[in-house]
């Protein structure tokens, strides 16, 4: 028992060390982004009409006149204190902007996740249990079709159907009640499609395993065999998919928020790019990427807790 937990601790440690290294790489790459700007980033940000004094001021504000390693150390030091710098455009602290925008995106992503889970899981189970039936084929085809629809096409389509042809929901914005539904639905569709396919494939595989045959041979009712034995094992790989896809939801939010005028981190990113407000662009990219890394880490840890095979270190 002791050897097993030592093994599990070792796995945990190497996973945490790997994550720390990845986070460092993400910070370095985001920091270097501004230095990829062709020409002088200060010129690009301020435009042609800026005075020499303004340029010098911004250059020293951003620390661009110092050597790269010193700039990077400075960047990390400020981030550690929760200081993301200031917007070049509005001079507002970026941390304040994020404090407003992150919760808006979080609400959207969590609702989308809830919608996707409540459609994808049952549909996948039903499809697997009626393998090769018309219903199964329809579910598989629908999932395939929906995953070929990018957000910037699905979003407007839902807008047409639910806001124009059936005037049930607001077209865009954030003020009206129900305004969150269309963007959340747009994000949810792709995820629901993936969950349907994964749940179906996973359950089909598990249904052929010995322990399911044993449960049936014991004379357990089919309901108990499916719900208590098969589904429990089948949903394990789905946990990983949910974790991975929650990050993609954040990336998808960039486009979905732009389509629906939802003021979250994604829209802030697009606005900052249009205004060439690079410190804001940098901060948004960093926040989304770090969230993704943390969600993946948490997924792995949860997986290790719930999967008896990983838990015992086998």
């Amino acid at each position: 028992m002791k050897a097993m937990s030592a093994l599990a601790a070792g796995l945990l440690f190497s996973r945490l060390a790997g994550t720390a290294l990845t986070v460092f790489g993400v910070l370095l790459l985001t920091f270097l982004l501004v230095h990829l700007v062709p020409g002088d980033p200060v010129d690009v940000m301020l435009g042609e009409s800026a005075t020499a004094a303004d340029r010098t001021q911004l250059r020293s504000d951003l620390g661009l006149d110092r050597p790269l390693p010193a700039q990077f150390a400075d960047y990390l030091g400020r981030l550690a204190k929760g200081d993301f710098g200031r917007s070049i455009h509005t001079h507002a602290p970026i941390a304040d902007l994020l404090a407003v925008r992150v919760p808006a995106t979080a609400r959207l992503a969590l609702l989308a996740l809830a919608l996707a889970l409540s459609v994808g899981l049952p549909l996948g189970v039903v499809a697997a249990l009626s393998y090769q039936s018309a219903l199964d084929k329809a579910a598989v085809f629908a999932a395939l079709t929906v995953s070929a629809m990018p957000h910037f096409w699905l979003g407007p389509l839902l807008m047409l159907v639910f806001a124009l042809w059936l005037p049930w929901l607001p077209v865009s914005g954030m003020e009206l009640p129900g305004a969150i539904l269309l963007p959340a639905l747009t994000l949810a569709c792709g995820l629901a499609a993936i969950l349907t396919r994964m749940t179906r494939a996973s359950l089909l595989e598990v249904l052929n395993e010995d322990f399911v045959r044993t449960a049936r041979a014991k004379g357990l009712p089919e309901r108990v065999v499916i719900l208590r034995h098969a589904l429990k094992a089948a949903l394990l790989p789905v946990v990983t998919v949910v974790g991975l896809q929650l990050g993609s939801l954040l990336a998808g939010a960039v486009i979905t928020e732009t389509v629906f005028g939802w003021d979250g981190v994604g829209r802030l990113l697009v606005e900052s790019i249009e205004k060439r407000d690079y410190p804001v662009t940098q901060a948004c990219v960093l926040v989304i990427a770090l969230t993704y890394v943390l969600v993946n880490l948490m997924t792995d840890l949860i997986y290790a807790r719930i999967d008896p095979r990983v838990r015992s270190g086998a």
């Binding site: 790489g25 079709t145 407007p156 954040l250 990336a251 790019i273 690079y278 990219v285 990427a289 890394v293």
Partner: protein, 260 residues
């Protein structure tokens, strides 16, 4: 599988023959602004009165060209990096894999958006941004395969006969990687088409007056409520192409018996 193949061939032929068709994708007709489909223009007109069918075909050419260039570049670079990492092993492998880990830490097209944002708009920068982000898949796949291949008898035999590292990688390992790489390439092309359209939709990719499906959707969404035909036509085209490639990729995977 006939229908997906027909759809893919249709768009490929459209992309290849677009210059021969005497299309006028940029011809503005102010009296036909946002006009719906008619006998003279089967798919209707856009917000500047340009013929949507012409723009759709011209856009297919640009989108597929971008996808082809990016695929050629990232396939070569990604496969080379994967082969080196998988064959050499050791510290070089660890460093290269940590680099891919960092790239994979940016979900979806976020990193391509970031690169495109700082590089500025335009086709060369769009291609660069997509190249910088899409070599990772090939590298990871090749590396995983190469690690098991280097233990194979014929590779060990070649080594003991004194074949050079380059020769072993190219002549003895690469041919065995062809099947999984081909499947990976199929799915990668589909996601490149979507990525290009996404960046152009955000205004970061192909710039007006060039026709691109993403940029057309961007314009179309602005007039969605008055002229839905614009968005519907472009979106359906994009979906048909992506769905066709994905279905063919699934089929190819089954035929070549590749596990993902």
């Amino acid at each position: 599988m006939r229908l997906p193949l027909a759809v893919l061939l249709f768009w490929l032929i459209a992309a290849l023959t677009a210059p021969l068709l005497e299309l006028a994708p940029d011809a503005i007709a102010l009296d036909k602004i946002l006009a719906g489909p008619s006998a003279s223009a089967w798919l209707g007109h856009d917000d500047l009165g340009r013929d949507l069918l012409s723009r759709l075909l011209a856009g297919a050419r640009i989108s597929l060209s971008v996808a082809a260039v990016v695929t050629a570049v990232t396939f070569s670079i990604g496969t080379a990096i994967g082969l080196i990492a998988g064959y050499a092993g050791g510290w070089l492998d660890r460093v290269l894999m940590h680099v891919t880990d960092v790239f994979l830490a940016f979900p979806g097209i976020l990193l391509a958006i970031a690169f495109a944002a700082v590089l500025g708009p335009g086709i060369p920068n769009l291609i660069l941004a997509l190249c910088l982000t899409s070599w990772v898949g090939y590298a990871r796949l090749t590396r995983a395969q190469a690690m098991s291949l280097r233990q194979r008898q014929h590779v060990l035999a070649a080594q003991s006969l004194g074949a050079s590292t380059l020769r072993i990688m190219v002549r003895h390992m690469l041919p065995l990687l062809a099947a999984p790489l081909l499947v990976e390439m199929t799915f990668s092309v589909a996601s490149l088409v979507i990525a290009e359209a996404s960046l152009s939709f955000l205004g970061l990719g192909i710039q007006p007056p060039h026709a691109s499906w993403g940029a057309m959707l961007r314009d179309g969404v602005r007039y969605l409520l008055v002229a839905p035909h614009d968005v519907l036509v472009v979106g359906l085209s994009l979906m048909s192409l992506v769905l066709a490639i994905n279905l063919l990729g699934d089929k190819l995977r089954d035929i070549l018996d590749v596990k993902r």
